[in-house]
Amino acid sequence: MYEFWVSRWEIFVAALRFFVFYVLPLIAVLVVAAYVISRIYGKGWFTRRSVPILIGVLIFTFFVAIADSLVAPERVGFAVGGGRLVVDIGWWGVPSGKVYNLSQCMLDWVNASTVRIWKIGRGGPFITVGKITLMPLGVSGYGMVVHDSQWILVARCPDMTYILGGPGLSPEAVYD
């Protein structure tokens, strides 16, 4: 039996990490480069008027990066094993409270290192929730995949295809 659950707080922390890891350094590069060019070529990009606007943009970007995590469900996740698949996410089009017999679903396992994840939903590279497509396989479905997933489960159930990944998830973890 394998279970993986993530709290709203963990989603918030993941959003914060995404901002700090990816967005903040890019902003820093752009600001520093613009400052250097502005000083050397006398462009006057950094004035009493533009600096507060820049700070405002930074704050706005920060809130955009974390906003959806503030309205996330209190707990999202899934469980698989013991003959059952439970999906309880209820966010970005992924249903909640769904329970299937594994015999109803066709399961495929994909090694996470061999695919790239395209998504419509939330999440940087840490927690991805929503409509997920595994490339280059072209397999689409709804679900969640978390950073450090080694295996991704593609479960084709009667009403929906689920794509699920979590740390430690593997065929052995499910069938043992």
């Binding site: 350094p25 890019l26 590069v29 520093v32 400052y35 250097v36 050397i40 070529y41």
Partner: protein, 269 residues
């Protein structure tokens, strides 16, 4: 020059914790602007002219890659693109080379073969970020030191300082794939000392933007080496290793000879 050094080296080390925790990534691009910020802090801002033809210097480092490959060929036969890519992935992912999926290797090799299509973009992006360094190292510090040491002496001194300035990223595995691998510091300093006369020569002929284009070309084309030689051992068969240093030698000797006779000085500093 104190403020220049304090900012160029100090800011770099201030970025070290961020790079250690969050990965080198874009923080290294911020770091590349610290020498330019040093010049601004020193209050000796100058305005280098940007001429389109100087950007073509971006392609000169292909001569260095060719030289490094030629030097390597004296010691080992090329293994072809797949072996190089496989070794790189294995080092980055910390897995045995045979565990890197064949499809991934083929995809990356194909991407590399398509790389020439992206040369215009690579030229602009790499030149722009290298400008942050060259504005300080070649445009400011080298002429300052040249007044006392001559162009060749200044090139070697700046090369050593420039190499040591890279210490924070070297400690985080940049160029040599292993974190806190201490030999990376003297090895890369040697690399910079060997490369520096060539960059000074380019600076004297093509100005700061020319040197930035050259530096950008080094960053852009160094990976071509891996298409022929896997980085094994990493200190030897690596564009930033001994073979890369040897690759600079003939170019540096020409640059030194040309600077000594004064012929390189066709462009006012």
């Amino acid at each position: 020059m104190i403020r220049f050094f304090a900012v160029a080296f100090g800011l770099t080390w201030l970025l070290f914790p961020a790079m250690y925790i969050w990965g080198v990534g874009p923080w290294a691009l911020v770091m590349m602007f610290t020498p330019a910020l040093g010049v601004i802090a020193q209050g000796e801002v100058y305005r280098p002219e940007l001429r389109a033809r100087d950007l073509l210097v971006f392609f000169y480092p292909l001569a260095w890659v060719t030289s490094a490959v030629a030097m390597s060929a004296l010691f080992a036969t090329p293994e072809g693109p797949e072996a190089g890519v496989r070794y790189l992935f294995a080092r980055l992912l910390n897995v045995p080379p045979e565990e890197v999926p064949k499809d991934v290797v083929s995809l990356v090799v194909t991407q590399n073969l398509l790389a020439p299509l992206f040369i215009p973009l690579a030229m602009v992006v790499n030149t722009f970020f290298a400008f942050g360094e060259e504005y300080g190292w070649r445009g400011y510090l080298t002429p300052k030191l040249a007044k006392r040491l001559g162009w060749v002496g200044a090139s070697l001194a700046v090369g050593a300082l420039w190499g040591l300035w890279h210490t924070p990223v070297l400690l985080l595995g940049h160029n040599y794939f292993t974190r806190f691998w201490w030999p990376s510091i003297p090895l890369f300093t040697l690399f910079c000392v060997a490369a520096s006369p060539v960059l000074t020569w380019v600076y004297l002929r093509h100005g700061v933007w020319g040197a930035a284009a050259f530096h950008g070309g080094v960053n852009a084309f160094a990976g071509v080496y891996f298409l022929l030689y896997p980085p094994e051992p990493v200190w030897l068969f690596n564009p930033a290793g001994v073979m890369g240093v040897l690759g600079w030698i003939p170019l540096a000797l020409y640059a030194v000879w040309d600077m000594r006779r004064g012929a390189a000085w066709r462009q006012p500093a």
